[in-house]
């Protein structure tokens, strides 16, 4: 059948080209022909420009029609025109029960910012039919899948622009990779896919995940709670614990592991105990090792082995991928892959060489010498990389699915897509939106890596909500203070007030810097974070109109920010705590020895975070702020700590109470502040839920000027305004 098809295609192509060839010859000059005679004069291997005779359009058409299903590529099996209006993802209505894992996938997509309920504007389609497990012996096997797909009607369109997820294919005894239904032109996101079946830059290789993988958040990398030391060696050099199949597909590799097991630094344990009849089977096969293996197997605890081994063997199972892979990654145990021909998870974007060791199944006994050959700094770096990759792309279902979506989006919008540096360096591609910038060094996390010197200036963004009545109004006073800073480049006033701003002549003049008043703004507390084009500096100083800061305080904060360009640097700090009564995270404004947030009513941070705030991958978080018109600063702290995994930085400021009550802010309701505070406590809890974990991190230190409050003359000090209280 295949051969016939191929033959037919060759014939058609030949006929087609003949027609084209003769057709084009008649209406063309014979320039090309003379050229091809002259080319013999060239003394080198190369002839001059070869002549293109076939029409590119027709070639494209024939390629598109010929390279289907098994030979799909984005060019031939994907309709890019559907994505012109943006990258939107549609999920078919869920009509029947799906497995736990698949429902996690669906809910992740429904919470995504790319989600749409309108199939007409969708670029990508996701089935509501559970295709994860196609092992007919499995409980999650969905029956009658073909008629269901046929039932999808015109939208299915032979799978075009669909992503079909699959974890298991085939069954005992041959575990075929061929699925039992026709996926047509759909992009297959599959686990255990082989290099030969994988359609490069079209399919996506998934890791094998269990149903215990949480929908969000996920287990932290083991190193975050353990040790990252040199020498980076753990108790065991190499570890493995898993099933042994005795016979059949993929059994050879695991069957020979015991040769390397020495019970000392190499601990490779297998067991025959699985399935009901293992003993019978062992006897039939005359496998005498089972008893010895089982005894060794029971001596070691799997988790302990995982956490105490420097390298972990990941041999193929029945299928190419194995659960051991992600387990090793989480444990910071560098995977040693023994699975020839396996297309590694997200291999299109992840550079696994930085985190794993490829070994050859055929050369099993080289493994010890290979891992011995790695230097200590190499192992040190690889182990950190396992942790980075685990937390960035694998620790929860939403990360895996978002990674799939971002990979496809990068293909669709290839001109503004991420390169390997985005994907393989902390904080990872999901935190680095390619729409922000086409150069890497503008992302704060890459400043040092690319020797980028951030601007020596900041833009002050002042959020104003009250009418200005006097020239001594707090807003004008603040503007004058800010303008005195040598580092300010521009002041942007966000005018979120019902009365119009004062006429331009009333504003402070002769400041030497431009003041920009934004009146057409988003009517929301989030407006203070809007990524205005006019903000040209790397640093944004976000201020309230009634901030009582001195120029020295601003300057000092800016200097501190220069050393921590990826964090928020601010003055008043807040903390989060676990509220036992509510069984949830909560918020406190007490003066404590620790803090995990700084308020953005006076905070300096990279302008990238403004962009991230409005383009976050978690739209639900933004909606909370919009609904309450509160907690925008808490969300900002969540967003930044989610990227950096670090606390903000608090700097010194004079503790002064706000002496003036602004007219617009005068609140008569005594319960107002209490309600707002309660809301904020609730925000911390609900944001934690949306993020899937608590991203905030606590700090115990505050940054003060080097000579602050030291018993030396104030004249020696640079930030003198900070000395007076």
């Amino acid at each position: 059948m295949q051969a016939k098809k191929r033959y037919l295609f060759v014939v058609i192509l030949a006929v087609l080209l003949f027609i084209v060839y003769f057709g084009s010859k008649s209406d063309r000059k014979h320039g090309e022909v003379t050229l091809s005679l002259q080319k013999r004069e060239f003394p080198t291997y190369m002839e001059s420009e070869a002549v293109d005779l076939s029409s590119p359009r027709r070639r494209r058409e024939s390629v598109t029609s010929d390279f289907k299903s098994g030979k799909c590529r984005m060019d031939t099996c994907f309709d890019f025109s559907r994505c012109v209006r943006g990258f939107k993802v549609y999920v078919y209505p869920v009509l029947e029960r799906v497995s736990e894992s698949y429902s996690k996938i669906i809910s992740t997509i429904q919470e995504s910012k790319y989600y749409t309920t309108n199939p007409d504007e969708a670029c990508i389609f996701i089935l509501s039919i559970d295709t994860l497990d196609r092992d007919i012996l499995s409980v999650n096997y969905a029956k009658n899948i073909m008629p269901k797909i046929a039932h999808l009607g015109a939208l299915w369109n032979n799978g075009r622009n669909h992503i079909v997820f699959n974890l298991f294919s085939g069954t005992w005894p041959d575990y075929s990779e061929v699925l039992d239904f026709d996926t047509g032109e759909a992009i297959m996101a599959r686990a255990s896919i082989s290099e030969s079946r994988f359609r490069p830059n079209f399919d996506i290789s998934l890791p094998l995940v269990g149903s215990t993988l949480p929908p969000k958040g996920g287990e932290r990398g083991y190193m975050y709670t353990s040790i990252n030391n040199i020498p980076p060696l753990r108790h065991y050099l190499l570890g493995f614990k898993g099933k042994r199949y005795l016979t059949g597909v993929g059994s050879e590799t695991r069957n020979s592991l015991y040769h390397m097991h020495n019970g000392d630094d190499i601990v490779l344990l297998t067991t025959c105990r699985h399935g009901k009849f293992w003993q019978k089977k062992a006897k039939e096969l005359n496998d005498t090792r089972c008893d010895i293996d089982n005894r060794e197997f029971d001596r070691y605890d799997y988790k302990k082995l995982l956490y105490n081994a420097t390298f972990c063997l990941v041999p193929r199972g029945r299928r190419l991928g194995s659960f051991r892979f992600l387990e090793a990654l989480q444990a910071g145990c560098i995977p040693v892959l023994l699975s020839n021909g396996w297309e590694l998870p997200f291999g299109e974007v992840i550079d696994w060489k930085k985190a794993a060791v490829w070994a050859d199944e055929r050369l099993l006994f080289q493994v010890p010498s290979i891992v011995h050959g790695l230097s200590q700094p190499e192992i040190f770096a690889m182990r950190q990389q396992t942790q980075f990759l685990w937390e960035a792309y694998f620790s929860s279902m939403d990360k895996i699915i978002n990674t799939v979506l971002e990979i496809v989006k990068d293909r669709v919008k290839s001109y503004f897509s991420r390169n390997s540096v985005h994907w393989n360096n902390f904080p990872g591609a999901l935190s680095l939106l390619p729409e922000y910038s086409d150069v890497l060094h503008t992302y704060p996390s890459f400043y040092r890596q690319f020797a980028y010197k951030s601007d020596n200036q900041f833009t002050a963004v002042v959020y104003a909500t009250s009418p200005v009545l006097l020239s001594s109004a707090p807003l004008f006073r603040l503007i004058r203070t800010v303008a005195k800073s040598t580092f300010v480049q521009k002041i942007v006033v966000i005018w979120n007030c019902d009365t119009p701003p004062p006429p331009s002549y009333q504003w402070p003049a002769d400041l030497g810097i431009p003041i920009l008043v934004k009146t057409k703004i988003l009517r929301s507390v989030s407006a203070r974070f809007y990524p205005y084009e006019e903000i040209e500096t790397d640093a944004v100083f976000n201020l309230d109109e009634d901030s009582l800061l001195t120029t020295d305080e601003l300057n000092f904060a800016f200097k501190v920010w220069k050393e921590f360009p990826e964090r928020i640097v601010g003055y008043p700090a807040r903390n989060h705590f676990w509220d036992e009564a509510k069984n949830a995270w909560s918020y406190t404004s007490k003066w404590l020895n620790e803090y995990s947030m700084v308020l953005t009513s006076g905070a300096i941070y990279n302008r990238y975070y403004n962009f991230l705030y409005f383009n976050t991958l978690r739209p639900a978080a933004y909606h909370i702020v919009e609904r309450l018109q509160n907690c925008e600063d808490i969300l900002m702290n969540f967003i930044v700590s989610d990227v950096t995994k670090l606390p903000p930085i608090k700097v010194t400021h004079r503790k002064v109470s706000k002496e003036t009550m602004l007219p617009g802010k005068a609140v008569t309701d005594p319960n107002y502040y209490q309600t707002r505070f309660k809301q904020r406590q609730g925000c911390v809890a609900s944001l934690t839920e949306i993020f899937g974990y608590m991203p905030l991190v606590r700090s115990r230190s505050r940054m003060d000027p080097v000579l602050w409050k030291d018993p030396v003359s104030n004249l020696r000090k640079k930030y003198r305004q900070l000395e007076v209280i």
Binding site: L53, N229, P711
Partner: protein, 585 residues
């Protein structure tokens, strides 16, 4: 083809003994399929002594296919041989097996190009200088060019019989090729008969960013080179949007891609030899993946100022580990014992390691040492070297090391405990107490070492400082130049060396904890101190200047802040504060 063979035999992988060879290169010239009788060659191959159906053979072919349909791979029966081919399509390329190579342009082998700076402005946005393009492409391009006058489309010049490869014309205007490419930001590389085209190499060479329009083309060396850094790939259908796409790139990005294009050219494309060597390197990396060249080595243009922090993960070490205090001592048991007793009161201390650097006198008997509730380990060194302080002894089991002199008795437990907590938040930095700063003397053109009363700091002294054990490893095994030797010979400046080392690998400044203290003997009279102090400062300045020479730059970074406890000097009762004994002189 001779050059290919020459390059192979010049490469470190070459052997003349077929018995030990891993890879065989048949000596038939098949660079251009047009010069080859395909059937005969297939037979010829099978006659090779070691052929074995092509296994472990490598065949170089730049121009596959022939009239009329130009297949994208060599139409010769090559069995299991690897093909290093120019112009693979994604359907003929066997991933992880074949190597996609560029099509070398021999016409420009000796062409001279005016050297141009990467930052120079270029007149044209986009040029197309390929000849013999299909009319469909041309139509689209002319349409685009009609609304963009910085888009130059050229073809071969019509006058004269023999067309000159180095001439291109737009109407009657004549341009020199490839010089004209140097005047354009982007260069069109359209699909022609072959998928691979010399226009790509020519563009890279001239720092003209290639705009590749050839669906399904497997870019040269794409297994290791990240083309997103150096080229724009546009689908044939989107050719009409080309100008719009190109205009959306920032100037910064254009400079970067230009540099990258030239980097690719200079390292992997510029000669047949380079192409051959790159191919062999790729195959070598496949066979030995664990010693393979890394992504950065292939793609990153070396930048001495760039920093690759070895502790790139933002880990906050769990406080349960605590820290190991490493005390270097020579002959001062009384104050040493005092230090040990004080240290033992610090909550997070996990162990004290005393480095006994005196070979003449053994350490006092165990009974003489203070009795402390924490483990104490004494290491007798072989030689009195300052570097011993930074040796990564296996007795040190925590990540965090507190290096402390045997006379630092003035730090309180609160201060040390707080210092450790600060280190946990900044584990990739040096976190310490007394600070110093370097200044650049404009007149002397030298750096000067300063100690007192400055508003900024760039070093903390390792007489009392926390650092990650990884830096002890780097100090001992990976310090540039002969700094370690120099420090041991001169018995000075090991702390400056540590500051240089850490700032150099992290690009970050140190962190000073808590306010200034009086550190050295308060009872010493001032006049005596003065002279020895000045001498001391001169020596230290010498060190700084020496190390700058060894690093070929000044890695130290100045900062203007120190870390204090959150509530330090705040107007709250002491009971609320976690660290009260902080900052008294």
């Amino acid at each position: 083809f001779n050059e290919v063979l020459e390059a192979i035999s010049d490469s470190p992988y070459y052997t003349n003994n077929p018995e030990t060879a891993c890879l065989f290169a048949p000596s038939f010239d098949v660079l251009n399929q047009n010069n080859v009788r395909t059937k005969a060659l297939g037979k010829l191959y099978s006659l090779l002594q070691w052929w074995n159906d092509g296994a472990n053979h490598l065949i170089f072919n730049m121009l596959p296919g022939e009239l009329p349909n130009y297949k994208t791979t060599l139409e010769v029966d090559t069995g299991k041989a690897m093909i290093a081919g120019g112009g693979f399509s994604t359907w003929t390329y066997r991933r992880g097996f074949d190597v996609s190579i560029p099509v070398y342009n021999p016409f420009l082998e000796n062409a001279y190009l005016q050297p141009k700076s990467n930052l120079e402005s270029r007149k044209w946005l986009l040029v197309s200088a390929q000849v013999g393009l299909h009319s469909e492409y041309k139509e689209v391009m002319f349409e685009v060019a009609a609304s963009e006058k910085r888009f130059l489309i050229m073809d071969k010049c019509t006058e004269g019989k023999n067309w000159d490869f180095k001439k291109r014309c737009q109407g009657t205007v004549e341009y020199t090729y490839p010089d004209i490419l140097q005047d354009s930001k982007f260069c069109m590389v359209l699909r022609s008969a072959h998928l691979g085209h010399t226009a790509l190499s020519d563009a890279l060479r001239t720092g003209c960013i290639p705009v590749i329009v050839a669906d399904g083309y497997v870019l040269p060396f794409s297994e290791v080179l990240d083309w997103k850094r150096a080229a724009v790939v546009i689908r044939e259908e989107n050719l009409k949007d080309v100008v719009e796409v190109l205009k959306s790139y920032s100037m910064e990005r254009i400079y970067q891609m230009r540099r990258q294009a030239r980097f690719f050219w200079e390292n992997y494309f510029h000669s047949i030899k380079a192409i051959t060597e790159t191919t062999l390197q790729i195959i070598n990396d496949r066979v030995f993946p664990y010693v393979a060249k890394k992504y950065e080595e292939w793609n990153e243009i070396p930048n001495p100022k760039a920093v690759w922090n070895p502790m790139f993960l933002p880990l906050i070490p769990p406080s349960s580990q605590g820290f190991t205090a490493v005390v270097l001592t020579f002959n001062r048991p009384e104050s040493l014992f005092q230090v040990i007793s004080k240290l033992s009161l610090v909550q997070s201390l996990s162990k004290i390691v005393v480095i006994w650097n005196n070979q003449a006198k053994p350490p006092p008997p165990m009974t003489a040492w203070p009795l402390i509730p924490k483990p104490l380990k004494i290491i007798q060194t072989q030689k009195n070297k300052l570097s011993n302080r930074f040796f990564p002894y296996h007795e040190i089991q925590t990540e965090c090391i507190l290096a402390i002199d045997d006379d630092i008795t003035m730090l309180t437990s609160d201060e040390l405990e707080f210092g450790y907590q600060v280190w946990r938040e900044f584990p990739d930095r040096l976190v310490g107490f007394p600070s110093r700063v370097h200044l650049y003397g404009n007149e002397s053109n030298k750096f000067k070492y300063e100690s007192e009363w400055k508003n900024n700091i760039s070093m903390v002294l390792t007489g009392a400082a926390f650092h990650h054990k990884y830096y002890s490893y780097l100090y001992t095994y990976n310090m540039p130049g002969h700094i370690r030797q120099w420090v041991d010979d001169n018995m000075n400046c090991e702390d400056i060396a540590m500051n240089f080392l850490i700032s150099n690998v992290t690009g970050k400044g140190p962190i000073k904890v808590t306010p200034r203290k009086k550190f050295k003997c308060p009872e010493c009279t001032n006049s005596e101190m003065l002279s020895s102090d000045t001498l001391h400062m001169v020596e230290r300045s010498e060190c700084v200047n020496n190390f700058v020479r060894a690093y070929r730059s000044m890695p130290l970074k100045g900062v203007e802040f120190r870390a204090d406890p959150v509530l330090y000097k705040d107007d709250v009762p002491n009971v609320v504060k976690m660290y009260t004994e902080v900052g008294s002189l």
